[in-house]
Symmetry: C2
Subunit: 347 residues, 2 copies
């Protein structure tokens, strides 16, 4: 039922070759023929089939993207940035939301292969053996964004999570805090689990602060787990005066928990988040956070992937972007706490 190139050719009184030439903007078509063809196209409302075209050109202009959770502000911001660059370069995005479902990921990876996507972007690192093998087997460029799986053969666009966590912790130490709690991520995640935890521990060690294991908890990056872990932390004897939380979502949950327990941020407890999500400016008090360049991360991911596809200088190393500490209302000097206590005492 769809009108095809043959119909256009017939109406214009030329060969399909000529129509194809006009379609692809080739020179060497006489103006009058070109005009006839364009009129026929217009009249029939013809749009060339990208499917047929892909088959012969062996180029689909498709990129497959695997997102862990579309409803997360962090990932959807990266995705939106990827989409912007893709669209500007005539690439289209096939989007898969896996929601913890590793089988769905494998299924989608197969779909990507069948669709002959030109490149694949993956935004999580919990890849299993099956997926690892699959990625190695297909000869489609794959790039990881915001995460780095253990496998050295994959390239990633990331920040230095260890260093960022170290600096975040150090900032709290410099504020004069002695006991600094930690709410980490999934320790199966190298990037956001292990590296951030190491950064915290080493910063504490370097400053001769001892780790209090009741002040160290692990969540799943989401708001609710931040709330739940903070609750455990508050119930564990004397709470810390500052907590470094490795995602802004969890940090917001932690702040809510503190508030619901009748304590105040930052007067009683300082909170430091991680990511630089929209939430930081939204909540009250606003959230101090070790920020990732989220938008840039998506942009660079897509740009590097396009280079890989073009066969240009394939980066052999990860692309490491700059993190940035943004101080807002949720953190303050330990001395301020002391003053507050005095004030309270004098009341």
């Amino acid at each position: 039922m769809q009108v095809k190139i043959k119909d256009v050719a017939k109406l214009a009184g030329v060969s399909v070759t000529t129509v194809s030439r006009v379609l692809n903007g080739e020179k060497y078509v006489k103006d009058d023929l070109k005009e006839k063809v364009n009129r026929a196209i217009e009249e029939l409302g013809y749009a060339p089939s990208q499917i047929a075209r892909s088959l012969v050109r062996k180029k689909t202009n498709l990129i497959g993207v695997i997102v862990p959770d579309l409803t997360s502000s962090f990932y959807s911001t990266i995705l939106s940035s990827i989409e912007e660059i893709a669209s500007a370069n005539d690439y289209n995005l096939l989007v898969c939301n896996i929601n913890e479902d590793i089988d769905k990921e494998y299924k989608y990876l197969n779909v990507f292969q069948e669709m002959r996507v030109e490149g694949i972007i993956i935004m999580h690192e919990k890849i299993n053996e099956q997926i690892r093998n699959f990625i190695h087997k297909i000869n489609t460029p794959v790039i990881f964004s915001s995460v780095k799986p253990t496998d050295q053969n994959f390239i990633s666009v990331i920040i230095d999570d260890y260093k960022a966590a170290y600096e975040a912790t150090n900032y709290l130490i410099e504020l004069g805090h002695e006991s600094i709690g930690f709410i980490g991520g999934d320790m199966r995640d190298v990037t956001s689990g292990q590296n951030r935890y190491s950064g915290y521990r080493n910063a504490m060690a370097a400053a001769d602060k001892k780790l209090i294991y009741e002040h160290i908890r692990f969540g799943d990056y989401k708001v609710k787990s931040g709330y739940d872990q903070m609750k455990e932390l508050l119930n564990a004897g004397s709470p810390p005066t500052a907590v470094f939380v490795v995602s802004d979502d969890m940090a917001v949950g932690a702040m809510n928990c503190i508030r619901d327990h009748g304590l105040r941020v930052p007067e009683d407890i300082s909170i430091m988040g991680f990511d630089g999500s929209q939430l930081t400016e939204l909540v009250r008090p606003t959230l101090t956070s070790m920020e990732q360049p989220i938008h840039l991360m998506g942009k660079v991911t897509m740009e590097v992937l396009m280079k890989q596809i073009a066969g240009e200088a394939i980066p052999t190393d990860d692309v490491v972007l700059e993190h940035r500490l943004v101080v807002r209302e949720s953190s303050r000097n330990r001395n301020a706490h002391a003053l507050d206590s005095i004030k309270k005492h004098n009341k």
Copy 2:
């Protein structure tokens, strides 16, 4: 370089027809041949080209989705829900983020046509003449989700925005509020602009409350505009004791503004949001909101679209889902305000 069906046939020592039969799970293939073929597929790591398959079957399994803003929690939740149903039915999503760029939408619509998507989902209603004509011209099913353009020929999955806004306003009236402000959306939007405003006005009229035009402002649904509009509203003489804000994002902005002005929610001003986004539970005080069934909306959108594609009973009318008032901490009885004032006075 990609291995193709011919390679599999050669290795298995059968015809491509037989390979195709095995691939498509047809009966009438002897077990031993089937096994040979499967072994060859395995050995070569063969994955059939969906491109070639689409061309002959005239079926792409592709759905095009146009999202106004991927980073918005409202749209990304709908999208995630659409993706869930699509994926379960072997449909893949081509996602376009337009970010207010109407030209990008038109461009993408053309891409959708060239990609021969089987259906199109659009989540915004500011469609212009060009887009309207285009949608009418192509014979691909189109469905609108969460919005309803003026054009009667398109079908939408929505809530009754007028009624929802009426009830939201009425709830504030029942709480005893006399002066109820309003922060609306874009009046060029029928669904979320005009209908919600009408609901507010008629509810006020029905209760004999007079409209105070200094208490009526319009934003763009985003947090910042909620903040800005609330500021204007607070500066306009005596502020209202309650404000109905037509998006949760704006409502959060409004709450922050109130707080930054040294006033409290809900003690001084009650706030009612709209949408039922994740933010409602995240912010403190938690946000009372007239909620849309966001997740269901995405699900139903995709389900109805699949029916349209299958040519089954095409719905001639919009699908109207139920809204729901969820009361949280940001709203309270006007009497409570009075009591608060007295308390303050007696201090």
